[in-house]
């Protein structure tokens, strides 16, 4: 049979390289940048905007001057180097004044103290942020507020020691009362005894201890705080103290008890309804009216009190979200095990609710940290406006605008961005649904 056969291929064709438009960079470009008219326009606009910004600002950054004693000198150097009319950044102002931006008017020979306090603070918050770390570190977290306070403000070491002693004293009181008077009395004792200690006994005991074993470091006044030391002091103190308060408020808002519930709601809504700046003005102008005549404590503490109340209301809402996200079964399971309200809350509800709430708490903290710049309106030296105004008040640096803003903005950005990254990492870790 004659075979008029057509050609039959007996072996596979070798695979060909994909067309240019479907591979490598070109494919990526086509798919990601020029997939349609709208996308093309958006891409061009985006690239154009970036190019424009770069064109405008790059020369200014390029012509930076780091060594000069005044703005005039700076401008002279730039004109000499790049011709008349050239403008450039004068970072010399930052180089000369950066200690003020970081520490305010904190005595310069004591800079190590805020630095140490900051380093220890990182150690103290580490076990909270990274649960893998040993639980024992929590003890350090617990006593850190006293250490931080002592390092920042200085003075006698007995002040924080005696203040901290209130906690074990309360615990001891509860332990002693428990076998005699039962749980309720023990709880009352755990609250009343430390309060009595702080109100009436702490000062004499502190003075006595100080007289016996004098141990104090140089005192620094609140007025000398400024810059990022101030921002961190206010921010971290407020967040640390607002957490317990916020938890209580959130529980109060969840509570079935009419009065407790309404009081919590009223407080939270009031605080969330007014701007922080009015609360700060209250701290600076009005708080003294509400304290016994002659009471005097300084503006930073007053500001911290108001900022703490402010943060507590926001934290309460975050934690309420966490509580609401817990399935009802958790409450029922706790009840079926025979746990009472506080035991259930402490052992079952709160650990879970807090875990869910951490991202929210971190973003509250980012907001709070940024809001510390508002203290400038009550006359404190925040890094953004307070210190910058002080720098600009000197004749050398009159008229310098952009450099301080950029410097302070960059620092804020890195701190807040770092925290928000952490919060996203947590969110990913806590996310249990699969999509």
């Amino acid at each position: 049979m004659s075979n008029s056969s057509a050609f039959v291929r007996t072996e596979m064709l070798p695979p060909m390289a994909p067309p240019v438009s479907q591979a490598g960079a070109v494919k990526w470009l086509r798919e990601n940048l020029f997939s349609g008219p709208l996308n093309t326009i958006l891409t061009l606009l985006g690239v154009g905007a970036v190019a424009l910004l770069f064109w405008e600002f790059a020369p200014w950054f390029w012509r930076s001057v780091w060594n000069a004693n005044s703005l005039t000198e700076c401008r002279q150097i730039i004109e000499e180097r790049y011709g008349a009319g050239a403008t450039g950044a004068c970072w010399a102002v930052i180089k000369e004044r950066w200690p003020q931006y970081l520490f305010g008017f904190y005595p310069s020979h004591l800079y190590w103290r805020p630095v140490l306090a900051f380093a220890l603070m990182c150690v103290a918050v580490a076990p909270v942020l990274y649960p893998q770390l040993p639980k024992k570190m929590m003890w350090f977290t617990l006593i850190y507020p006293a250490i931080g306070f002592w390092l920042l403000w200085g003075g006698s070491i007995w002040v924080p020691v005696v203040a901290l002693a209130g906690l074990p004293i309360g615990y001891l009181a509860a332990r002693i009362i428990l076998p005699i008077g039962g749980a309720i009395l023990a709880t009352i004792a755990a609250i009343v005894v430390p309060v009595v200690w702080w109100l009436f006994l702490a000062l004499p005991v502190e003075l006595a201890l100080e007289a016996m074993i004098p141990a104090s470091i140089e005192q620094v006044r609140s007025r000398e705080f400024g810059g990022f030391v101030l921002a961190f002091t206010i921010g971290f103190t407020a967040i640390a103290f607002s957490l317990p308060l916020g938890i209580l408020l959130a529980l109060g808002r969840q509570s079935d008890m009419f009065i407790v519930n309404k009081l919590s709601v009223g407080f939270i809504e009031f605080i969330r309804g007014v701007p922080l700046i009015t609360l700060l003005f209250t701290a600076s102008l009005l708080l003294n009216y509400f304290l016994p005549p002659g009471t005097d404590f300084d503006i930073i503490l007053r500001v911290i009190i108001m900022v703490t109340l402010f943060a507590a209301a926001y934290i309460a809402e975050v934690i309420r979200g966490g509580l609401a996200a817990l399935p009802k079964g958790q409450y029922e399971a706790a009840a079926s095990l025979g746990l009472d309200y506080w035991k259930a809350t402490r052992l079952i509800i709160m650990p879970q609710a807090l875990k869910i709430s951490i991202p929210g708490i971190v973003s509250t903290f980012i907001g709070l940290f940024k809001d510390t710049t508002l203290v400038v309106f009550v006359g404190l030296l925040d890094p953004l406006k307070g210190i910058t105004d002080a720098v600009r008040a000197s004749t050398d640096w009159k008229g310098v605008y952009w450099e301080p803003y950029i410097f302070v903005g960059t620092i804020f950005f890195f701190i807040c961005f770092g925290m928000s990254r952490y919060s996203m990492y947590l969110e990913r870790k806590l996310k249990t649904d699969h999509r």
Binding site: S156, A202, F281, N288, F297, R392, G399
Partner: protein
């Protein structure tokens, strides 16, 4: 004071309530060992910290004189910067012992705000500064202008009154601090900058090109600037008032920080003898010792010396004495007799 920082919060105030409320300001200051003096947050020449954080200026000198008179040491002063918004609250709430922050003595402040102004340390008035190339030579030509003005001061009311009285209109650019006002004015965001004439002179002196700016001749208000104390503590008010008077009288009688020790022993002028405590013990009437005025004058000199050292014609601010000359020189300074 040392312990009050922290325990003050913990001990929730009961400890302090009894102590401070019962005492007069003088006793409180003496017990504390320091004088809390409310000053400007930073106005060159009147009160501003230098690069080392030491406060300098015309108002600051009053603080030093009072500290020297009361505590015997001019350095025992805690300078508390106050803003125009919170200065009176700081005083009435007791956070400062007295206020010397170029504050204008007005009827309502004296009566309604429960403060007492105890004297005048600088007679000022509100003026305008404009650029020379604007071609304006009188404030009457400012119709339709944009004016930078510090909020929260009497200048705001004066400005409104002045433009209304002259049937002119203006747009206000409110600024918080002198530094902001300067920035706006230099950038041309306002045609004129208005504040107390002394402040204008100080601001202009700090410009890179002072010759291109003029201060208009009109002074549109009376601004007697003086120290203020809380209403009701007359003894303390008297101390501030007479410390200021002592500085003024010292200039009148030629007592300077240089010759004061010599005059205290050798002067034959009975007024000087009484002032410096060489004859009568005037200090006891106020609860102070004999040499209070001597120490006050020694702190930074008499009124004239202070003026020349801080804001006078030899300084960059370069203010002439004008109304602030002694009454014998045609000014308004007139200290009542010490007897």
């Amino acid at each position: 004071m040392k312990k009050s920082v922290f325990l003050g919060t913990l001990a929730a105030t009961t400890l302090f309530a009894g102590i401070a409320a019962a005492q007069s300001t003088l006793e409180t200051v003496k017990a504390r060992g320091e004088l809390n003096c409310g000053v400007n947050t930073g106005l060159v020449g009147f009160a501003a910290p230098d690069a080392n954080g030491n406060w300098q200026g015309f108002d600051v000198a009053v603080c030093k004189a009072v500290a020297a008179a009361v505590l015997g040491d001019a350095s025992k002063v805690v300078y508390i910067p106050t803003t125009s918004a919170d200065r009176f609250e700081q005083l009435t709430s007791g956070k400062i012992d007295f206020l010397v922050r170029n504050s204008t003595w007005t009827y309502s402040r004296d009566n309604d705000l429960k403060m007492d102004f105890v004297g005048v340390n600088y007679y000022d008035g509100q003026g305008f500064m404009v650029r020379k190339d604007l071609g304006v030579s009188s404030a009457k030509e400012l119709d339709g202008a944009t004016v930078c003005i510090q909020t929260g001061t009497t200048t705001e009311l004066n400005l409104a009154d002045y433009f209304k009285a002259n049937n002119m209109t203006y747009t206000a650019v409110p600024v918080e601090t002198n530094a902001e006002g300067e920035q706006q004015y230099i950038a041309g965001a306002c045609d004129a900058y208005t504040t107390d004439a002394s402040g204008l002179a100080a601001t202009r002196a700090a410009f890179a090109d002072p010759e291109n700016h003029i201060i208009l001749p009109e002074i549109i208000s009376k601004e007697p600037l003086g120290p203020a104390v809380r209403h009701g503590d007359n003894q303390w008010g008297d101390i501030i008032r007479w410390t200021l008077n002592a500085l003024i009288a010292a200039e009148e009688y030629g007592v300077t920080s240089a010759n004061i020790d010599e005059l205290a022993t050798s002067s034959q002028n009975p007024e000087v003898q009484r002032l410096l405590g060489s004859s009568d013990d005037l200090g006891a009437m106020m609860g102070l010792d004999k040499e209070w005025a001597k120490r006050a004058i020694k702190a930074s000199g008499n009124y004239g010396e202070i003026f020349e050292a801080t804001i006078g014609s030899a300084t960059p601010i370069g203010l002439a004495r004008g109304l602030n000359a002694q009454w014998t020189q045609g000014g308004l300074l007139y200290a009542p007799p010490f007897r």
